[in-house]
Amino acid sequence: MSLHRLRTVMGIELRQRVRSLGWYVLLGVFAVLLIGILVLSFASFALSGGGDGWFFSLVIMLVLLLVLLVSPTLSGSAVNGDRDAATLAPVQVTLVTTTEIVLGKFLAAWISGLAFLVVALPFLLIAMVAGSLNPAVVFVSLIILIVEVGIVAAIGVGFSAVFARPLFSVASTYLVVAALTIGTLIAFSLGGFALRSEQVTVSRDLDWSAVPAGCDPGLLSPSDECPTYDELPCVENTYTSEVPRFDRVWWVLAANPFVILADATPPTYVGGYPQDLFSQISYSVRSAQKSPEAQQGYDGCTPPAVPDNNTPEDQVEGTIPSWFVGLLVQLLVAAGLLAWGIARTRTPARRLPPGTRIA
């Protein structure tokens, strides 16, 4: 591994990008979209006081969405596009190694993705100032955004080295992004319902059949013949039902980029209630970790106890933060694809993808 050659590969990639008009058009469209989001958000949140935290977290979520949508196009044809343009083989015949080529292209794709974050940065700062937010939240979200751009870049470059057709590798990258964002959501909800378990409900209730005809225990001045509530006997009913087990599939959601973003940022609770979108999502995902009780009971015979005020903040106590598990899964997928891509691009090539020329 030579840094000099790695830098040269990156330089070739980046110089082409910096000089292509399409790149600036894409950045411009990105900025226009962000301006639209910002204006709309300001307009809608001006309706009610407060809610600034929600506003900021919504803006940063949308930045993540846009970055996830843009990144595959930057990286998805890095290697096979070069092969199509006959520019790969002349590079491979030099002293540069396959690892340097693929890693150089990955780093270049990552850096070009970060340009979108640079464009987004002023908007994030405006949102932060307008919402007088915790700088730690902004800082952590930026780190997560940077990492997510890198992961998508690695997946794209990896696929572009594995598949022969640029169209196919770009589409595959989008499919992985879709699987992480929407697929995890579907798997989570369907999985939760598929893996149901039985729940036994025991309810105790007054035996209404013991009330003589013509009597109403609810009357304020009961007659002597009629029993009061206290005098009525209690009966116990047991029935079983099936409940979804989201606690068995909560980890699926952990790989979702939006969940990672929400879960990694320091939660903001005011009076025990989530104060932004991140904390809300994080709370929902953490709640899913709790398994339902195997048996639950209702007692209608005794007056209900004073309900313990269990705020979302209290409920989240004792649950496991999942973002680093999800991030680790994503990093493994990205690194695995890069390694696969390197193996498939190695020269002298033993086998070529069907329908390709090496030069």
Partner: protein, 318 residues
């Protein structure tokens, strides 16, 4: 150090297609070796294997004693490869292409810049140094590709169709450059299907037919087979061309039908070089006004066309 090219029993297939079936040849340092074969005969596949980009299914190769399969980076230090099509990075200038390539060969940025300028000068592209490589004409791209192959001063050059798309002036410049590179002790392997183009520059030829190199004795046999010689006479306008044909036939003791006319020239078949010498002597001795006496087709073309017909098949090429 011997920096020649050796290949023995090299074979490579793509699925069911046998691109290269059995290639054995050697190319010596200080000489330009032509790789001659029709389209689809496996020239480019062979070049790719020698350039350490493609692994052969079987066989041994050595580039200056280095096995490009076992030690690709060792072989890459020695060889310069020019593909049949220059893939140009969009929006990089000709100079930047060379600088980037030089840096990929571990040259420092300063050395790379100096090397790029020297090479642009060498292939006469200095005026276009700042133009995007993508917008160069085909011939200019070919020259840039050649410069790129020379970036690290390689001892072995593998040039795939280097002359295609070049104008006559650039062709001559290429020929001079290739001769110079060979004279410096480099091994030059050059492929082409334009035989007249190769004829001008090669010292040795390797014939590739259907993925196989043709053995030297078959090449020699093909070369010594009957070939036509072009005879041009100073025509006496009062007697006409038909009379000239009669004169030549009479002087050679042949029937006029054996001699073909090709525009203003006559084509006379001779069994071998000795026969041609005797024939010329007879013509001059008989007072026939011979203006020009030369093989009708080049040596390479003659051998090649004969090989294509196949051994034991008396075809009549050209």
């Amino acid at each position: 150090m011997d920096v020649g090219i050796e290949a023995a029993g090299v074979r490579r297939s793509f699925g069911a297609v046998q691109a290269v079936q059995d290639v054995t040849f050697s190319a010596a340092p200080g000489r330009v070796t032509g790789l001659v074969g029709p389209n689809g005969s496996g020239k480019t596949t062979l070049m790719l294997m020698l350039a350490s980009l493609l692994q052969p299914d079987a066989g041994e190769m050595r580039i200056g004693g280095v096995d490009p399969v076992a030690d690709p980076s060792g072989a890459r230090r020695l060889l310069g490869w020019m593909p049949d099509a220059l893939g140009a990075w969009p929006s990089l200038t000709a100079r930047e292409v060379l600088i980037a390539t030089a840096q990929l060969y571990d040259l420092s940025p300063t050395d790379a810049r100096a090397r790029a300028d020297a090479l642009l000068e060498l292939v006469d592209l200095t005026a276009l140094a700042a133009s995007a490589a993508r917008v160069l004409s085909r011939g200019q791209k070919q020259r840039l590709a050649l410069a790129r192959a020379l970036v690290h001063d390689p001892r072995v050059l593998l040039l795939d169709e280097p002359a295609s798309g070049l104008d006559p002036q650039a062709r001559i410049a290429l020929r001079v450059l290739l001769r110079r590179l060979a004279a410096e002790g480099r091994t030059v392997l050059i492929s082409s299907h334009v035989l007249s183009e190769l004829e001008e520059v090669v010292d040795d030829a390797v014939f590739l037919v259907d993925g196989r190199t043709v053995a030297g004795d078959r090449v020699a046999a093909a070369a010594s087979r009957t070939r036509s010689w072009r005879v041009r006479l100073m025509i006496d306008p009062s007697r006409g061309a038909e009379a000239a044909r009669g004169d030549v036939a009479a002087a050679l003791g042949r029937l006029p039908d054996e001699i073909a006319a090709d525009r203003r020239d006559l084509l006379v078949p001779f069994a071998d070089d000795a026969g041609a010498v005797a024939g010329l002597r007879a013509l001059v001795g008989a007072g026939v006004p011979v203006l020009e006496f030369a093989p009708a087709v080049g040596d390479l073309e003659h051998a090649f066309l004969d090989l294509r017909v196949g051994p034991g098949n008396e075809g009549s090429p050209a």
